[in-house]
Symmetry: C2
Subunit: 430 residues, 2 copies
Amino acid sequence: MDILLKNVHLIAEPDNNTIIQTNIVIEDKIISEISPTAQISAPEYVIEGKAHVVLPPPINSHTHLPMTLLRGYSDNKELMSWLQEDIWPQEGKFDRKWMTLGTKLACLEMIKSGTGGAADFYFHESVIGEVIKKVGMRGWLGAGILPSAFVDQGGLEFQMQEFHKTLKLSNESSLLNTAIAPHSQITVPEDILIQTADLAEQYKVPIMIHASETRSEVMNSEDKYQVPPVERLEQIGFFKENAKQIIAHCTWITQREVEILGKYNATIGWCPVSSQKLAYGGVTPIPELRSIGANVALGTDGTASNNTLDLWREMREAVNVISASRWDPALYSAENVLEDTCWTFRRNFHPESLLKVGNCADLVILNFNSPHLQPIHNTISNIVYAANGSDVHSLIVNGTPLMIDREVLTMDEDKTLDEIKSKVPELIQS
Amino acid sequence: MDILLKNVHLIAEPDNNTIIQTNIVIEDKIISEISPTAQISAPEYVIEGKAHVVLPPPINSHTHLPMTLLRGYSDNKELMSWLQEDIWPQEGKFDRKWMTLGTKLACLEMIKSGTGGAADFYFHESVIGEVIKKVGMRGWLGAGILPSAFVDQGGLEFQMQEFHKTLKLSNESSLLNTAIAPHSQITVPEDILIQTADLAEQYKVPIMIHASETRSEVMNSEDKYQVPPVERLEQIGFFKENAKQIIAHCTWITQREVEILGKYNATIGWCPVSSQKLAYGGVTPIPELRSIGANVALGTDGTASNNTLDLWREMREAVNVISASRWDPALYSAENVLEDTCWTFRRNFHPESLLKVGNCADLVILNFNSPHLQPIHNTISNIVYAANGSDVHSLIVNGTPLMIDREVLTMDEDKTLDEIKSKVPELIQS
């Protein structure tokens, strides 16, 4: 399929100095030319881009896709009563059917808000992978490991089988990648933490974990092990040379832990909106993590605690929480957060789809022809502080258009919404 | 003009217990009937509302509309260098022509994001009022008073003339209301503060002021007057019985000042996104202000420090900043912030347009037929945590449709955007 983008404003790198007005040609899934005169005969799609801005689509660095089913089901509660009274009893009912439906809604929401893929972390991860593949997005499938699951989502054996299923899926599709995802260092026994780290090294797949999300998690770790969570993970040999790490949250970490994360070049799955909504209090030390060489990548967390998958909205809130908590508006800029949303994850986990000639064609197109995106003194400022997911015009992943001019092409939008409206009440009442 | 809304979900009061599915009839600018069987013959507009939610349109409690011209012009700078190096030099060029253009863009943005009106605070306020009236929105025109203006926007005499012009305008239009707006207690001399308070009392119009916005303002006030800003305002007799107060920000106030604001039933023009972006550090003590009887009303501040006029987005950020800073997700709920956005200002300044039979017809209609607004476990949660301005379907103010199905009816959207694109570069280069 050949696609021509005409006269678009391309953000080639996440700074204002590299914005160029150009044509872009996509041939056979590859970006074949970027130049003001680039043309192609008889393209299937032509996007006329007078007020259109093109950049690499964000990858959501940490989420739980099927939780779309619980958007708005419970809010404004303290974490443990929120989980124990409301979330876990519902999640316990999530079988393959519900996982599929929740992931379909999540993929529809991500396509409509211009997200190119997600690093997911859940149970039944192979089911989630099947949906992601079908709609044409990129997925990093974190097979959840939590043997004494507080939600009834299988024991260790079932969860290991799921990991192997995701490995098989990712061997079959260039869109999918496997990861192994022990829940946290406080909820998973030490021998299994070590076993998952060994598996990640053996299969050369990333390992995902939640760490230092809440104050009580840090207190628990210090009580039991005399060190905070990230430090303990290093002590037990969780960080391996051949297995990249995606560490979610890191809301409450010490400078010593910042240095550990920098040393291993870990990726931080930072979810500032969820942390604020759940009232964790802490703020991930983003400037320190960035300057020491850790990879900060923006995520939304699940929609029960955000409550959207909209990474454009997340960007403004990410900058503002750093500015406000540190009393310094210059510590973390619009250009920084754009890099951490649209570049960092991809650079580390899929550089072959960075927006360059010869690479797989992954592009998101924003329509700036809206009052809230005018005038344009600074394109990146308008993206970070004013755009939201509804400003996405088109999304192309791996050369395939998933949405053109807000029409979703790889899913039936109306049918999916109808299914959600008719079936979700059953889930809650069951 | 007669309008029929069929089968909409009406939020009659800002809580989940009062959502009803109903028809609504608007005749001759008035809500004439609310009932499931309400009908009218040959209405000019019919809105079929299967997935549509209706509530009173937000009023922006504190903004500077023409600053849309400077959206994204300067970000990530410390307040005083941001103002002195970037904002004031540009604002100094704002004559009637630029005020008109900036207000047109602001009104277009507000209509598209479903805002019914604004309490504005600027210079050349009569020019701003003319635009607001022309497009059919509601305005509270705060004529700015700052005799030694750091931007060249006339001296005291010119500013007082503007106040009298806004009085004349508001006598001629039911959409407009006057206010007098001394800049702050630290920038306006004491005799003029007292003079403006007397004028507000004499004409029975609200008085607007910025107070306790930054740490340095509080420090300055304590150095000079031995008391913080709100306390000093009380001491000099600024709060009058017959003149309602709209006090913007109150970012850094003491419990004693909370009590003063409660005693006078003051309205707080709370702008949490702007406070965060400008790194003020403090968080307005919203739960305390609400429980003591002050009126908390949400605003965006100007678009140079937000950078939108989108009050739907502002709501999520408002709740989350309270939850995060107070370590308590239950202190300020989705229902609370919805009340403070769509009810509180109107109850205090224009109860005759609250959404009730017999009242002026002001309604905003949200379209929930979007993936990020499904499923609906809790309508108010979805509005606060997931909706944004682009989800607004239609806006009716004083019985006049300003936008139906996202088509703006009282302004030429394309022409306004073209004017912005072609003219704003002149402003910056001049």
